[in-house]
């Protein structure tokens, strides 16, 4: 296996808080790599630096061997990195399918196209419909995004990430705020996605993580304290003290 994403010495401070503290992490091609850690450990900050929304104070990020540390977010998307947001980030004023169609449009070269009605371009609409069907939202396609439930918004986040056809997906707590049933469905869905895309999964739900992950990294106070297979992580005393032990 080859490394798809290499994170080297990544550090980011907010005031006195070390949100990322010399993070070193390698995401292998094709793996589902989970990052776990308590609230405020710096998981979202890590994703933000990988997607280009935040600049690290120090360190490097390499994607397919190329240094992308200073690359703007939209270039990273074209390079092949897509993300979902822990706090739902959608275009609320637009319809559901418009959101997904934009994600499809984004990967079809530039959008300096002024004449054709974007909502009547079959390639865009059909492709968008396909992703909506995958996450089970096909019947909500024409609804206004703001009118959807929280659970449906979470699914839209996934659909947008899928629509990018990016080889690397950064999923920041996709199950956040979902009920047990919805969570279970999403876990099944991600299982089906495993192997097709490389996934960096940030997740709070331990059952989900241990069910899905090929490898797990544990982040505490911005620092990776352990990386290993689920079995290794379960057996790691350090992790149990620092994190798993706090669970109940």
């Amino acid at each position: 296996m080859a490394a798809l994403l290499e994170i080297e010495g990544l550090s980011k401070n907010y005031g006195g808080i070390k949100a990322s503290d010399n993070v070193n992490l390698v995401i292998e091609q094709g793996e589902l790599h989970a990052v776990i850690g308590p609230n405020g450990a710096g998981k979202t900050t890590l994703v933000a630096q990988l997607s280009g929304l935040e600049r690290p104070d120090a360190g490097h990020v390499r994607f397919r061997g190329r240094d992308i540390t200073r690359m703007p977010p939209w270039r990273r998307a074209h390079a092949g990195i897509a993300r979902s947001f822990q706090i739902t980030s959608l275009i609320m004023e637009m319809s559901v399918i418009d959101n997904i169609a934009l994600a499809v449009q984004a990967r079809q070269g530039h959008s300096f196209r002024f004449l054709r009605d974007a909502r009547r371009i079959p390639e865009l609409r059909e492709a968008a419909m396909g992703y909506l069907a995958q996450v089970g939202l096909a019947d909500r396609a024409e609804a206004e995004t703001a009118a959807l439930s929280h659970g449906e918004h979470r699914l839209m986040e996934i659909a947008i990430a899928l629509a990018s056809e990016a080889p690397l997906l950064l999923l920041d707590e996709p199950m956040a705020g979902l009920g047990p049933e919805e969570s279970a469905q999403l876990v099944e869905f991600l299982k089906g996605l495993k192997g097709k895309r490389t996934i960096l999964l940030i997740e709070h739900d331990m059952d989900a993580v241990f069910a899905l992950a090929d490898r797990i990294s544990v982040l505490v106070y911005g620092h990776v304290i352990a990386t290993g297979t689920p079995a290794e992580i379960r057996a790691n005393d350090h992790v149990r003290h620092a994190y798993l032990g706090e669970e109940d």
């Binding site: 997607s51 939209w74 998307a77 959608l90 275009i91 004023e93 990967r107 959008s111 974007a118 990018s164």
Partner: protein, 323 residues
């Protein structure tokens, strides 16, 4: 697309504007042709502003500068043609003035937009206004072009087959231009480009992470909008045959913003409705009282606060507070 009342209302106003002016002339009311001409030209400017303000969420408080620059692009070559000097510009006589207006405004939008669009929110509003005031003071300081007394435009632009000295011909040029402006903005808004600027208005971060360089798309919309406003300005210069810095004052920019919001931002016919309402109310109130600005201002504030979506919102039947 469901057949909607908003489109019907917009087409109705356009139909009125198409047939009324000759009737005004036949019935001996040429003054109303002037009023209609002003209405139509302002509607073009408001329609151009709607592209960035309504659909793009770029609250530009300097749009009158483009209208003014467009008018000066007619007035200055006309001045040099008559009084000599500045041969390069004087040779832009007649038929080149309108393209010149469009080009100057596109360039001004490109340069200032590149800077303004680095900022957001209140800063964006302030900096667009600052650039417009810069142009305002620039023309106040140029004695040759009349400074704040303004410049009389002695000869109108030349166009093949159209004599702009004839009020009805000028009017119908403006009217056809308005129809085109509405069609152009609507086409752009519905295009892939339009989806990008609307998406960026709704959620810039999401658009960036999807892979859109939202800055460059916004800047393009900004340039298109500025160029269209410049065209409206060129028409306005030909209509009033007079141009002064006062046309570019920030209050003028504010009026254009009000037209868009009053009519209904991010709607096809909203700016036209807003401009029409603006002209009609201004006309009626100014006959009733010389202190018409006060009730007018209050009315605008009430509409902005209580009628979601402006006049178009009313027509659609959407009452209640704005979100």
């Amino acid at each position: 697309m469901k057949p909607d009342r908003k489109t019907a209302a917009g087409l109705f106003v356009l139909a009125l504007l198409a047939v009324l002016p000759p009737i005004f002339i036949w019935t001996g009311n040429p003054f109303y042709v002037d009023l209609a001409t002003r209405l139509v030209i302002l509607a073009i400017a408001a329609t151009s502003l709607n592209l960035i303000l309504g659909y793009g969420g770029m609250i530009s408080f300097g749009h009158a500068a483009y209208v003014g620059l467009g008018a000066y692009a007619v007035g200055i070559p006309a001045y040099h043609e008559l009084y000599g000097g500045f041969d390069a510009i004087a040779s832009f006589s007649g038929s080149f003035q309108i393209p010149l207006a469009v080009a100057v405004c596109a360039l001004f939008a490109l340069v200032t937009g590149a800077i303004c669009l680095r900022t957001k929110g209140v800063y964006f509003i302030m900096i667009t206004m600052a650039f417009a005031q810069m142009v305002y003071y620039l023309f106040v300081s140029i004695e040759e072009y009349g400074a704040d007394d303004g410049l009389v435009i002695d000869v109108r632009s030349e166009l093949p087959g159209i004599n702009l000295d004839r009020p009805l011909q000028l009017y119908y040029l403006a009217f056809v231009s308005l129809v085109l402006a509405i069609v152009i903005v609507r086409t752009i808004v519905n295009s892939r480009f339009g989806m990008v600027i609307q998406g960026a208005k709704g959620n810039d971060t999401r658009m960036k992470t999807m892979g859109f360089n939202t800055y460059i798309y916004r800047l393009t919309a900004y340039v298109i909008s500025g160029a269209m406003a410049g065209y409206a300005g060129a028409l306005l210069g030909n209509f009033t045959t007079f141009i002064s810095p006062e046309m570019m004052d920030w209050t003028r920019s504010g009026e254009l913003m009000f037209m868009v919001i009053l009519g209904g931002a991010a709607t096809t016919f909203g700016p036209l409705m807003g401009a029409a309402a603006f002209i009609v109310i201004e006309e009626v109130l100014s006959h009733v009282t010389i202190y018409w600005h006060l009730p007018f201002g209050l009315m605008l504030i009430l509409v902005v606060l209580y009628v979601r979506g402006g006049i178009m919102g009313l027509i659609e039947g959407r009452w209640g507070r704005r979100r």
